[in-house]
Amino acid sequence: MANPIDLATLLREQVGGRRNLIINGAMQVAQRGTSETGITGASGYYTCDRYQFSGFIGSTVFTVSQSTDAPDGFSNSFKVDVTTAGSPSTADDYCQIIQRIEGQNLQQLGFGSSSAQPLTLSFWVKSNKTGAASVELQQKDNSDKQVTPSYTINAANTWEHKVINIPADTSGLINNDNGTGLWVLFWLNSGTNLNSGTNRTTWTAENNADRNASNLGIGGSTDDEFYITGVQLEVGETATPFEHRSYGEELALSQRYYQVIAYSTAGQQDAAYNTDHFSVPFNVMRVQPTLDAFTFNKAGHVGGSLTNLGGATISYFDNAVDFVWSSTDTAYRNFGYRVAGSMSLKAEL
């Protein structure tokens, strides 16, 4: 019989069920937009949900986007493109893509115990640059530990599938909470303080020099570009086929950390306090979220104006943001009115 499934393997490896610890591994969801240009000396969540891009490489300017260039079986990738070339201006400069994973979603790893499980990281990558590059997992709870293996891009401008084994960590407990359990980083470039050491394939104390010891060096030419998709981190020593989830599933998972809400709700003047107020509910997020962006339009009788975030007091309730601002118009006391707009909420790790 071809390719028999060994029972011991079946029990040891997580062959079935929900396997991928990464959210939005196929880069399907991009709530913030599909492209961000002019990134230089900055860090943020720009396009594909859950991935933070940092572009601190001297005067290098980057564009990041949700690309439709993808290997067979995928529709999207995360693309980093260099639009103005440069080089690290300090030894601490860096360029990386990172996803942080919540600690309570990693308890099956058993890290910090004798039953700790190994991990396997797999992904598709494409770049004009060839040679060795670095990935990194960092564990911040209770001990600053890292593992910093390398991989090799063999051919330019060709999608390649990479598999990297991550050992178990029997001494690095990951807290069972909604804080950061692991960082998963893909290094694109850095200054010497971050790449003068050695790639580590076992968990070691945090050491900046080892983090990007094999430096791909994206940024030195406007020809430079880097694509990644199909990112999967799973328990076990084997890379199983990518776990494709529906767009709706990935969107729901992403909305624990970022939501864009188009709202239309009722506002009310309050004569007793000379205020106007309205509330906008949202789905449960990781923590009380930052109000990251906000628009407001009003209809009907409304007293005070509200044109920006500074114009209102923002209160947070369990699943709602409440806006209250002083009203100076006494003509329509205790009248209701309609407010509509959009707001973005951020509860990233």
């Binding site: 601190f56 009380q288 930052t290 923002i314």
Partner: protein, 61 residues
């Protein structure tokens, strides 16, 4: 890692309770509203810079 530039941090007070309920601040030039929640990473960064003596949160207007 590079530090976020935070300016114009100011407490916001609920007019009904007269208690501080959030902070408004400019993060790298972008105005955001931040809850007083220690698990919120933006609030944590504000408080880290306050404790480092790099930032002062102004009282509400």
């Amino acid at each position: 890692m590079k530090e976020i530039v935070i300016t114009n941090a100011r407490y916001m007070v609920d007019p009904y309770t007269n208690e501080s309920v959030s902070i408004i601040a400019d993060f790298d030039g972008k105005t955001i509203g931040v809850p007083l929640s220690t698990k919120n990473t933006d609030y944590a960064e504000i408080m880290r810079q306050v404790e480092a003596g790099e930032l002062t949160i102004e009282p509400a207007d």
